[in-house]
Symmetry: C2
Subunit: 409 residues, 2 copies
């Protein structure tokens, strides 16, 4: 029941020069499921990543950070579903290191050139023997045309694959950007139970890419919330292979930087929004925009208070314009000196409340009409300053409870 | 489907000397429902209150604070259900003031001696004409034996009345403590969509009672959460009529202070826990205790992160010991320098995780056994210090979604 989640056709997905993908069945949690994905990158590719801020960082997240810091040039990624390898202590780290060692041996790389990722159940040992045994099959299938298959193989409770591809011209050279993501619950900024992998054949300086990756995460995957839970495994990776033939973008002053930045940001936002559209049990997609805040932090506080309120989310599920629940969330968002007499609230184009109270012209039918749409814009003006922020979320349904009550069974 | 919510028999509820209660049908939202409650207090009663910290404070909350500050001696309370009179601006304040004026006229008091309370839907005008028209009927029924009826008449989405009564000896004099509360959703500390009224015939100095009321709120109504929403109308009131014959407790050094403090705190905690037990859709009652924290604030952060995680709450609903979700919540609670290697987790008496990972002796059957109980203790040790805090919450069920998606219809 994903909300307006566009699944492109195979022909709309462009391979990225310098990226090959192989997939296999490792039987991590269930047999007969393609649960292991390997990315191989051409030599010289630049890779940057952003990881969860949860203090319980999964073993693969810890190893990713070490390997990125080692600076030996990332040449492969390995991703398993079915087990998060989180809360698994030293044995979990050993399992991840063994995965990297084995893959490095098979590909003729050093272990520090591998980035590992896991997603699935927390607090259970990773069946690393089964994972390692399936690596040769994944490698045997390495091929540039496997993006769609990869979007499928990294899914957990996702109902739909999440994939996006585009081409841009960079000074007359065609550059490809293709990415996949996964995630449906335990979704909140910094980051979500999500994995996002974005590749381009553009060439970009490594240090510049690292900063850009962080900025892009903040404007995409860090602006979505489903249930307010930040997972142990969230990872977002940008890979730039440099194989398009376009010259290296080496500084922010390079006129091509802005073009590339915008295209990568749009692609990441698209992949992030797909996670919300396919969120567990979602029937509505909501864009929450908070304007006239004194600071971006303040705007985000209010946006998240609204986006994460179970009462607001169930009202959207019911298409019930019970909009006092939104005012209530604004009121407890944590702005101590908020003057509620300056607050306005719009639902779509309808002005619901102004000066902190119901607007005299507001008719419940108008609210009802907007609430019945599958895509709803909520806009709040705080009357405090110039900052504004936008957050994306979904409603809260019976289906969410069913999925999360039954996930492991 | 309330969880182990004890409803005492009529004979276990003691009237409080100096308190009379009258109830009427005002037709605020629906006809044929007893939705208006008036408390009349004897002259000389001391009254103190604690109110929501939501910036959208309902009109009655604003008026309560003004009237308590006026210092003329509170002599009556008036409570309506069906409409919260919140987000209603100046007309809402006028409606509340008119309610107080009319009741004051009928009882021969000044308006500043009245405390008004409203609970129900936000952002809709209070039908004050209907409310005022029913005041004479409520007054005509004033009687000391109406506590049970009052517990019923202040209910909204509550499925059960919440009432508690006890007697203690204060230096040989019998003192009565009786209270009622309401609330089932939009429940979170500071405070909940809750109303709590606690009365005693003990005599206590007014300033002392004001401080004590705040402390008691912090140890009872401010330690419960259902869905993380803090409402616009939360109010907790303690009334001390001084009619028991026991001498006035005038200082903290008075040996009777500790006895009274403990009895009032226990009564308030009982009323607060009843709200969680009757929480919308609850099937489990959970006590979350966080120990070895560096500060009480830190312990509360972790306890609330666990108590408010939809993933944790749905796992409890499913009796699924998916305990990695608890570790995950600890990890994102906001303690930046948390050493996860020092974290332990118990479910009931079962040690689930130690040193941040699954304990080697932990068996899933043991977790499953505890999870199936209707009352579950979760205990976390952070290994950082001496502070500990306890929070009470419930699980998250299909029924919660149904209730909140259908509330207004």
């Amino acid at each position: 029941m994903a909300v307006n989640l566009h699944i492109p056709s195979e022909s709309d997905i462009f391979a990225v020069n310098g990226v090959e993908i192989g997939i296999a069945e490792a039987g991590i949690r269930k047999a007969g499921r393609r649960d292991l994905t390997v990315f191989r990158l051409v030599e010289g590719a630049q890779v940057a990543g952003v990881f969860t801020r949860n203090r319980f960082r999964a073993a693969p997240v810890q190893v990713c950070e070490q390997h990125l810091a080692a600076g030996k040039g990332i040449r492969a990624l390995v991703i398993n579903t079915g087990n998060a390898n989180a809360g698994t202590g030293e044995p979990g780290l050993q399992a991840t290191r063994r995965t990297c060692d084995e893959l490095a041996g098979l590909l003729g790389l050093s272990p520090e050139q591998i980035l590992p990722f896991s997603t699935g159940v927390i607090l259970e040992p990773l069946p690393v023997d089964r994972l390692v045994a399936a690596l040769p099959a994944a490698i045997a299938g390495l091929d540039a045309g496997q993006w769609f298959a990869a979007a499928h193989s990294i899914m957990t409770t996702d109902t739909q694959p999440k994939i996006h591809s585009r081409r841009i011209a960079l000074d007359g050279v065609t550059v490809t950007i293709t990415g996949i993501s996964k995630g449906a619950g335990m979704i909140r900024p910094n980051m979500a139970t999500m994995l996002g992998f974005l590749a381009t054949d553009a060439a970009i300086d490594g240090a510049l890419l690292a900063g850009l990756t962080r900025e892009i995460a903040d404007r995409s995957f860090n602006r979505i919330t489903v249930d307010g839970d930040t997972s142990t495994n969230d990872s977002f990776i940008i890979m730039a292979t440099g194989q398009s033939g376009a010259p290296v973008v080496a500084s922010r002053n390079d006129p091509r930087f802005a073009t590339l930045q915008q295209a990568l940001t749009e692609a990441a936002l698209e992949l992030a929004q797909k996670i919300v559209r396919d969120a567990e049990g979602a029937t509505k997609f909501m864009t929450i925009r908070v304007e006239q805040a004194a600071s971006p932090e303040e705007a985000l506080k209010v946006a998240y208070a609204i986006a994460q309120s179970p009462l607001v989310k169930t009202a959207f599920y019911a298409s019930d314009p019970n909009l006092g629940r939104i005012l209530c969330a604004i009121g407890y968002a944590g702005i101590d000196d908020l003057d509620v007499g300056k607050v306005s609230l719009w639902l779509g184009d309808t002005l619901v409340a102004s000066r902190g109270e119901r607007h005299p012209d507001y008719q419940e039918e108008d609210g009802q009409r907007v609430m019945k749409e599958p895509e709803i814009d909520v806009r709040v003006a705080l009357g405090r300053g110039e900052a504004s922020e936008t957050v994306y979320t979904c409603d809260f349904s019976h289906e969410y409870v069913s999925i999360n009550a039954d996930y492991r069974s």
